[in-house]
Amino acid sequence: MIRTPLRPLARILQARNSGENPDAIERENIRVRHEQMRDTGRSRAEGRLFVIAVLFLGAFVTEGVRMGVISHSEAVEPRASAAGTRIVAQRADIVDRNGKILATNLETHSLYAQPHHMVDKERSAQELVRIFPDLDQERLTKDFTGKRKFLWIKKKISPEQKQAVHDIGDPGLMFGPREMRLYPNGQLAAHILGGAGFGREDVRAAEVIGVAGVEKQFDEVLRDPANGGKALTLSIDLTVQAATERVLYGGMKLMNAKGATAILMDVYTGEVIAMASLPDFDPNDRPRPAVEGNASDSPLFNRAVQGLYELGSTFKIFAAAQAMDLGIANATTMINTQGPLRWGKFKIRDFHNYGPKLTLAKVIVKSSNIGTARMAQAIGAERQKNFLRDLGFFDPTGIELIEASGAKPLLPPKWSELSAMTISYGHGLSASPLHLAAGYAAVANGGKRIVPTLLKRDLPQDGARVMSEASAREARTMLRRVVTEGTASFGEVPGYAVGGKTGTADKPKERGGGYYDDKVIATFASIFPAHDPKYVLIVTLDEPVETSGPKPRRTAGWTAVPVAAEMIERIAPLLGMRPQVEPGQLAGITLTSN
């Protein structure tokens, strides 16, 4: 490059001759040169920026286009990679503890119509109604002949129905593949499973989402492709569940009850082996929730988990166990049962008059309200409250059902001494039967807190200690005596040493204002075998009445207990328990001297 000299001789000489300052020429030239340098520098930088901009633009356009393609393309299974060999259903199966299927998927088809492709609209509507009698022909004809370009006709159809629709031969009737949720056992364990429905729908596929029960609780897990279609194993035993529901249904009909529930739970692991609530429904065709009337009358209502009832005398064992645990009393302590017990304006009475004094064991066996209330007075409201909180009566049970989180026991707003006295015999605190099962499990397993679970587990729960081993053992002896010599004499099942406590609570009126005289909730909370408990069984009947005698009988001893006994007789062999001879008390050796 030829550089222009800063001081060109010709111009300098000329300037000198004309008396001008030659330095001005140099400065001028330096300025020009700097301008040139600046211009070239700028154009080079601009060029570089342009190249970078083009590169970035290219990158972003590529990325955008790719994203668009990915979001608009159909998902394709990877063709050649080894990881892509798993072809799994959209939703994992649910199985019982022995691997029997409780819920699975079935491929079916949905039926939709594109009226603008249809040939003979009236005839198609007519034929469709012949295949699906629940469709409305006028409505269909209107939809087909109207402006609509697309409409769903049926969400799930069987292969036979599909063939029949094919035979209509109309090109505007189309099928889309659908995965549907199938509950092969029908109504069995309906409340546990809940049900499933379709979420977002498309012609080619539809989301299957859980709407209730474990299906909703574990919706994310069941749909997670990372699980690789691994089935969800519940703690339920299908056979035992079937037997439980069968016996419970029979008992409910026999005792003229309007509803019933039963819970069978392992006392060490907290696994719910069977849980039934009647009336029930078919999860394959889940009814719509009732919009009017009492929600608890709907078959969708899970009495075992959602039903909050005053559970009556079944609570007495907690007062007795706590009294023994605190050292206030033991099984042979005499308790004043002189009635009626007055507290302010309030009177506590017993079903019968049990005389002036009973031992604590007899208070439980005979189910004396007065005796238990006196125990509660001795324990005090604060300690009773803490004990019941430890047993889990203050919070939802924590079972893996979506409905359970709403079932928080109803506690008295102010825990006065009177509340403590009434709660000790099961009035003034409403809890679900499952809460009661958890409480009894703690008594049965030697005093450790149990959280009920629906998932199969292998190890016992090592919960916090609620009461000492010794007082739990004493309480179990009392429960056994309730069956051998007390209110639950119908509960005796030879070989299984049933122990338990009955509870008959008057139903509160829905609109407030006291209790019904002729409507009760009868509960039998039992453990078996009482000397080495493995299971706790709660049976609750809603408004039972037993009419074989001259007077209608409603107490739990006449209603819930026989049902529970029949249930234990049926399910204990299924659980693999062979009848055992109860280890009896050794005949006392009397010391004599002569």
């Binding site: 299927i101 299908l238 056979t239 079937a242 062999p573």
Partner: protein
């Protein structure tokens, strides 16, 4: 020397091209095969799922109960009761088979040992 290098290079290019061509077709063939196998696996799995569902449906407790009731005459099936448990020593040993000594041939000394 130079032409030799050209010829060798050209031959190498042709050889590599042939190899790449064949590899390409072999890969495509394998991919197709994999795809059809995947398809078969998928079909087998869905068939299996249907069969499992069918099995569970046919074995649902209510149906088995009804079947046991219908076929009571021939099967005499009743629900399991506690008194049906037994002990091992309640089970009689199967009668020992009587050894039949009839028609014994005295084999001693009939064989020829070398």
């Amino acid at each position: 020397m130079r032409s030799l290098v050209f010829v060798v290079t050209a031959l190498a290019v042709i050889g590599l091209a042939v190899w790449a061509y064949r590899e390409n077709y072999r890969t495509q063939h394998v991919i197709n095969e994999t795809e059809s196998l995947q398809g078969q696996i998928g079909a087998a799995r869905s068939r299996l799922a249907v069969l499992r569902a069918e099995w569970a449906y046919q074995n649902r407790p209510s149906r088995l109960r009804d079947l046991a009731e219908i076929n009571y005459d021939s099967l005499q099936l009743l629900p399991l009761r506690p008194d049906q448990f037994g002990k091992v020593d309640q089970v009689a040993f199967p009668p020992t088979k009587k050894v039949d000594f009839d028609g014994i041939v005295d084999a001693a000394g009939t064989e020829d040992y070398p």
